[in-house]
């Protein structure tokens, strides 16, 4: 039982990180960045390439390279279309996503690669008399620490306050002298850091890296932000957590014969949530007014 609870919490933690990464950028730019998955992919290849170094160095390299990639992505791809329609920005994010996947195929090949990074985390530890995987405990701890740091940043630093203000009313923030470029760059950097953390956890959990590995996580992250109520960070965190927990619970609770259709049940749950609360769990009034 303890193992199941830890599994659920671990999956929820990872999904919360994915959702927050997407929600941060959406908040200030109203862009669902589908290339967020490729940030995770880039981080994973960096980990694969430097897996031989001491792990803190590998992790730092991943964080810096992914944050750098995110910043570059904003500067090169999204800034020129910032004033274009949301559709244009969405298509741009798909283009960036496919471009990065193709680059990975050219550089590293199409086939998934294995790495021993984080292999030490797969050993079980005993908690309350039950054996649970260490990697799950680490996932929960990493997510908790990152969410805590994010909250501190948003509440206690001027840039954090400016980001929250800009997410609510971007034009007004600019009229008060808040630099649009600064706020958007900060959101991309933080989204990059969260993507790097997700990459570390995913690689440690699965031990494999592939050019298309970002597709599933970005979809989960996107769905989670919608369940939580797109546009709210708290909603994204809770939405991600709920989605992860529901996925694991269904995995365990469904009869063996239907377990293969788990995702159908997961998305059935998503539809149910949205039927009851169209704006998401933490739905913003703006969305409800539009319906």
């Amino acid at each position: 039982m303890t193992q199941h609870v830890v599994d659920a919490l671990s999956a929820g933690s990872l999904d919360a990180l994915l959702a927050l990464g997407i929600a941060l950028v959406f908040g200030v730019m109203h862009l669902v960045n589908f290339a967020h998955g490729e940030l995770i992919m880039v981080g994973s290849y960096v980990i694969l390439s430097f897996a031989g170094l001491p792990w803190p160095i590998t992790v730092l390299l991943a964080v810096f390279s992914v944050a750098g990639t995110a910043l570059l992505m904003e500067r090169v791809a999204f800034r020129p279309v910032r004033h274009a329609s949301p559709t244009t920005m969405l298509v741009t994010s798909f283009a960036v996503s496919i471009l990065l996947q193709s680059l990975a195929v050219i550089v590293a090949g199409r086939r998934p690669k294995g790495t021993s990074f984080g292999a030490g985390l797969s050993r079980p530890v005993v908690i309350a008399g039950t054996r649970v995987a260490l990697v799950d405990i680490v996932s929960i701890a990493v997510a908790a620490v990152l969410v805590g740091l994010l909250v501190l940043f948003l509440k206690r630093t001027w840039t954090g306050v400016a980001m929250r203000g800009a997410a609510e009313d971007f034009t007004m923030a600019r009229l008060l002298g808040v630099d649009a470029n600064l706020v958007i760059a900060a959101a991309f950097i933080m989204s990059g850091v969260l993507a790097a953390a997700a990459a570390v956890l995913l690689v440690a959990q699965t031990g494999t890296v592939s050019p298309t590995m970002g597709l599933q996580p970005v979809l989960i992250g996107f769905v989670a932000t919608v369940i939580g109520g797109i546009g709210t960070l708290a909603g994204a965190a809770v939405g991600g957590f709920v989605l992860g927990v529901v996925t694991v619970v269904l995995q365990e609770a469904l009869p063996l014969s239907t377990r293969g259709y788990r995702d159908a049940f997961v998305f059935g749950f998503v539809i149910l949530v949205l039927l009851v609360r169209p704006g998401g769990l933490f739905g913003s009034r703006a969305l409800e007014e539009r319906v």
């Binding site: 001027w158 008060l176 002298g177 630099d179």
Partner: protein, 238 residues
């Protein structure tokens, strides 16, 4: 201080301003009045850099500002208090005020805490409710917040769009009293109002916009001498 020359602004295919020229001198209060859709708000948003003019020039303290980004214009010393107040509802009152710190960070000259104290003395409610979400304030309190927030940027030119809208008459009096005080302190004010009588009384000069053009302009005396203006804008009130 501010010179707007032959300004043309269009929203898509709709022309909102056609050749508008206005002049604001240092330490004046200038009122801009006119019916809904006359282009009053568009004028303020264009001066602030949110809308880009199709043609014409805007000069502030001797240099061109048209086409510049809103954050750059606000750093030059122009603050806009838009219609509808635009508080950051989920941020606390204090955090709303902190947003104005952007300008200070760039200039790096002012004593922020001193300025914050001065604003709290003028608007005590901002200190009392410093930690409440701004969305929970009443309309009058929100109006004090946005004026206080704009003042914290230490603007030399303050643009106000319909500050009286939706407020009780008593509260409106308070807001206008603050504007008169600001003039004493050397702040230049451009006031857009539908409550024409109040605005014209307070202002040194008034511009009347109609269909995106300046129809009449002048001091209170000059305007009141024109019977067509009086009957159209003061009606029974006069």
């Amino acid at each position: 201080m501010l010179n707007v020359d032959m300004l043309e602004v269009a929203h898509g295919s709709v022309t909102a301003l056609r050749g508008v020229s206005i002049e604001v001198r240092t330490n004046e209060i200038v009122a801009i009045i006119g019916a809904n859709g006359a282009g009053k708000s568009t004028l303020l948003w264009t001066i602030s850099g949110v809308y880009r003019p199709r043609s014409g020039e805007i000069e502030f303290e001797g240099s061109r500002i048209d086409g510049q980004r809103p954050e750059a214009i606000s750093r030059k010393g122009i603050a806009l208090v838009p219609e509808g107040r635009h508080v950051f509802a989920s941020l606390t009152v204090r955090e709303n005020l902190e947003m104005s710190r952007a300008v200070h960070k760039r200039r790096g000259t002012h004593d922020w805490n001193r300025d914050l104290e001065l604003i709290s003395e003028r608007f005590p409610v901002l200190a009392e409710r410093a930690h409440s979400p701004a969305g929970q304030l009443s309309g009058g309190e929100q109006q004090q917040l946005v004026i206080g927030r704009a003042m914290l940027a230490r603007p030399r030119l303050l643009l106000l769009d319909e500050p009286s809208l939706g407020l009780a008459p008593k509260v409106v009096e308070g807001v206008f009293a603050v504007l008169a005080e600001l003039r004493e302190e050397g702040v230049t004010v451009v006031l857009v109002e539908q409550a024409a009588a109040l605005a014209v009384d307070l202002a040194d000069r008034t511009y009347l916009l109609r269909n995106g053009q300046v129809e009449v302009s002048g001091t209170r005396q000059e305007l009141l001498s024109r019977t067509d203006f009086v009957s159209a804008y003061f009606g029974e009130a006069s």
